[in-house]
């Protein structure tokens, strides 16, 4: 079977090279047959990669421990779900997974666009396949998942595998990496269309319209992946945080930031024909950062809790990243004349300028995160001393950045195109701003002294208010005409312009998440050694240790605490944190106990036994408002899905003639 798998990868590599060359030559010399055969080769690559992946998954499910990959990442006792998830549990498998996703995307793109964009498609295919070939080189020649264990020339099997790292044996493991990868890999498609359009100097913005929805879906996958990772870290790692500015977390955040910037600035090109160069740069940068993120995660260039060891793939990634950078810079510079802007900025207080600042801020934050992540590498190269920065640095830069973005979230959608009058500003913002100031004064009077948190709560109210006002204003207009009730009118309103109102919902999700982030300013924690019967206080909670138990089973040994919780004398039930020590991997894990409430979470971690073994070390935390991050995430997800629903009536925006907020609508047959 492993021979078949290796063969499939090798053939996929050959077909990928053919598809790349066939598309380039076919597109350039205008040979339809060559282009068509290259398209078929794309499907062939997908088929072969599917075969290879299926063989690897089958080996994992049937515990074929002759394969080094299976022996290292699976064992007999693991539930089937984790055996399957071991596909992306290690280096070789996850790169195969990347490759397979990319080929699936490529096949879908080629199939759905085969009759459209005839001039540009061969080059789109070529860009997709160039990336595919790079990953196939890794799959087939560098880190093949089909290597067998051997002693001398004899193929052998181990009796049982190591199993997946216990920290990874959590339900999110089955979906967190796939979502992140779907997001990472997906951005190759807008990039390919951008490059195809640029290479062939397509008139108009066909690439943007074609990939608009694709970009939103990819962005959604990235958001899901990042938030799942945060939720996982919070509930499993036992360090009580959802975000630690770890290099691998940063790697997933970077392309998300640039993708967010792209989603916004692309509207400027759609509606005003501006920022064309900038959009090219953003889409390329996002793609580049996706590859870079994979590199950072997989090569061990910076140390991280995700702890992947040094590996030989680093230099391949660096070469590929250099090629991508050189290629995109060349193509963009060479075709600058084609990317001329169709209108210019007129006022500092206008929709255009708010987009500009949104982009500036996002990029600055992206750059700061990148800089901080790579600081050890940079400082070692420059000064010879390895210096790292950690969470306080990232927070110091990104908290003000986040607050400013939050402010723009509230202001920008209500600013008019071109310029906004003072009167318009007052009409839209007087009441929300007054409400925000009142809230801040109220909170300050109630004893909240944390500066950023105060600002954050104020801005959250401000933005939520403006968004709600937009919905109500629009819904009232519809109600006046149709006589529906307000809720039905809102649904109708959203359906008429899903992208706009879906976007507002996404903004609302972000607002709720910021409420949760601001809560972290008021975290409380306490570490204490306790015995049965002891009790201690944290914030308004009284915690009593009711029982401490320990035990042993074939898989792991455990310590378990039963902690009674009460508040002001009335009992609130018990929490039972546990600490496990897995025998086969010799690794401990924490099963934290969390009491989740909307106002605050009570979070207990069994840190271990003290040295004499007589007392348990318990860490107790109170995390105010943290649930709002997850609620905000669901709102964000819902909003993104709304954006993807087609408009009831298709809108077409007239270019440059737009005056004020009144867009010109023209119906187009669907």
């Amino acid at each position: 079977m492993e021979n078949l798998g290796s063969l499939a990868l090798l053939l996929a590599f050959c077909l990928g090279v053919y598809a790349f060359l066939g598309s380039v030559v076919g597109g350039w010399k205008r040979k339809p047959f060559l282009v068509l055969s290259a398209q078929r080769a794309v499907y062939g690559t997908w088929f072969l990669l599917t075969v290879a992946s299926a063989l690897l998954v089958q080996a994992l499910l049937t515990s074929d421990f002759r394969l080094g990959y299976v022996a290292a990442h699976s064992n007999r006792d693991m539930p089937t779900l984790y055996k399957f998830a071991a596909w992306w549990g290690g280096q070789e498998g996850s790169l195969l997974f990347w490759s397979w996703l990319l080929s699936s995307y490529s096949a879908v793109v080629v199939f759905t666009n085969r009759r459209k964009h005839r001039g540009m498609m061969p080059f789109v295919t070529a860009v997709l396949m160039a990336t595919q070939v790079f990953f196939l080189i890794l799959n087939a020649f560098v880190v093949s998942p089909f290597q067998v264990l051997a002693v001398g020339r004899e193929v052998t099997a181990v009796p049982d595998g190591n199993g997946l790292n216990p920290l990874l044996q959590y339900w999110a493991m089955a979906i967190h990496p796939p979502f992140l990868y779907l997001g990472y890999v997906g951005f190759v498609v807008p990039f390919a269309f951008a490059m195809g359009s640029l290479i062939t100097r397509q008139p108009g913005d066909a690439w943007i319209h074609t990939t608009r929805r694709w970009t939103i879906v990819t962005w959604m996958f990235q958001s899901i992946g990042i938030l799942l990772g945060a939720g996982w870290a919070y509930a499993v790692l036992g360090w009580g945080g959802y975000w630690g500015w770890d290099p691998v977390e940063n790697a997933s955040l970077l392309p998300w930031i640039t993708a967010t910037a792209f989603l916004h600035s692309v509207m400027m090109q759609e509606k005003k024909g501006m920022m064309k160069v900038w959009n090219m740069v953003l889409v390329s940068l996002t793609f580049w950062l996706c590859i870079f993120g994979t590199f950072l995660t997989r090569s061990g260039v910076v140390s991280s809790v995700h702890a992947f060891a040094q590996s030989p793939i680093g230099k391949y990634f660096v070469s590929f990243l250099a090629i991508v950078a050189a290629f995109t810079i060349y193509v963009i510079l060479d075709r600058l004349d084609y990317l001329k802007s169709e209108s210019r900025l007129e006022s500092v207080v206008s929709r255009e300028s708010s987009f500009l600042f949104n982009n500036l801020i996002l990029l600055a934050s992206c750059f700061a995160v990148l800089w901080g992540t790579l600081f050890p590498v940079i400082s070692e190269a420059v000064t010879g001393e390895k210096i790292s920065v950690d969470a306080p640095f990232f927070n110091r830069v990104n908290v003000p950045v986040g607050l400013f973005l939050l402010f723009l979230t509230g202001v920008a959608p209500l600013l008019a195109w071109r310029r906004t009058s003072v009167d318009g500003l007052r009409r839209n913002f007087l009441w929300p701003a007054a409400g925000a100031v009142a809230l801040m004064i109220g909170l300050a009077a109630a004893g909240v002294r944390h500066f950023y948190a105060l600002i954050c709560f104020g801005l959250c109210l401000f933005v939520a208010w403006t968004i709600a006002a937009e919905f109500i204003k629009g819904a009232r207009a519809i109600r006046a005409r149709s006589g529906q009730n307000l809720i039905a009118s809102m649904v109708e309103l959203t359906h008429r312009n899903t992208r706009r109102y879906g976007g507002y919902l996404v903004h609302m999700g972000i607002v709720l998440m910021f409420v949760g982030f601001a809560g972290s300013a008021f975290n409380k924690d306490r570490t204490i050694e306790v015995n049965i019967g002891d009790s201690f206080k944290l914030a308004s909670y009284e915690l009593t240790i009711k029982d401490l138990r320990e035990g042993d089973n074939p898989n792991y040994s455990w310590h378990h605490a039963v902690v009674g919780i009460s508040k002001g004398g009335s009992s609130l039930g018990v929490l039972e944190p546990e600490r496990r020590f897995y025998k086969s991997s010799r690794q401990g894990t924490s099963e934290v106990a969390i009491r989740r409430r909307l106002n605050e979470d009570l979070y207990l971690n069994f840190a271990g036994m003290n040295d004499s073994g007589s007392k348990a070390v318990i860490q107790a935390y109170v995390f105010p408002l943290v649930s709002w991050i997850w609620i905000g995430f669901w709102v964000l997800l819902f909003g993104t899905l709304v954006c993807l629903v087609p408009n009831k009536v298709r809108l077409q925006y007239a270019r440059t003639e737009v005056v004020g907020v009144s867009e010109t609508y023209a119906n187009v047959e669907n």
Binding site: G68, Q91, L149, S303, S311, F357, V397, R586, N610
Partner: protein, 141 residues
């Protein structure tokens, strides 16, 4: 052109503020990576600086007293006593023989006060990615 002047001014202000924040942030949190040997050589120069020291946790040296955890890091023959008193729980991978990264400051008494510990397990079962030799050896056992 007046509008563009305003834009440039605003952009300069924003970027300037961010650079100021970033530089301050770096100076506040920068941490030097040092080996235990280098730390010894620095002598009193090491006092007060934030440092990150890597080494293996000596077997049997982990002692918990109250909320403090004391242990010894060693790298070849050089040893360093470390006391951890941070708020975060120690990572699950922290145990005898693990590779650990202690983040903190050197005390005047020669004991390293760590506020953060990162640990990587050097499990004998774990084959490093891209390096199949250990697994193959294991197969021979």
């Amino acid at each position: 052109m007046k509008t563009y002047g305003k834009f440039v001014a605003l952009i300069v202000v924003i970027v300037g503020t961010l650079v100021w924040l970033a530089v301050g942030g770096i100076n506040q949190t920068k941490t030097y990576y040092k080996t235990i040997g280098e730390l010894r050589e620095m002598g009193n120069g090491a006092l007060g600086k934030r440092l990150r020291v890597a080494g293996d946790v000596e077997s049997g040296s982990i002692v918990r007293t109250g909320r403090e955890v004391a242990f010894t890091l060693h790298q070849e023959d050089v040893r360093l006593k470390v006391v951890y008193d941070g708020a975060e729980p120690l990572p699950d991978t922290f145990r005898d023989g693990a590779q650990a990264l202690a983040d903190g400051r050197m005390g005047t008494d020669g004991v390293f006060r760590a506020s953060k510990i990162q640990a990587k397990c050097a499990s004998k079962y774990e084959a490093k990615p891209g390096q199949k030799a250990p697994a193959a050896k294991q197969a021979g056992v």
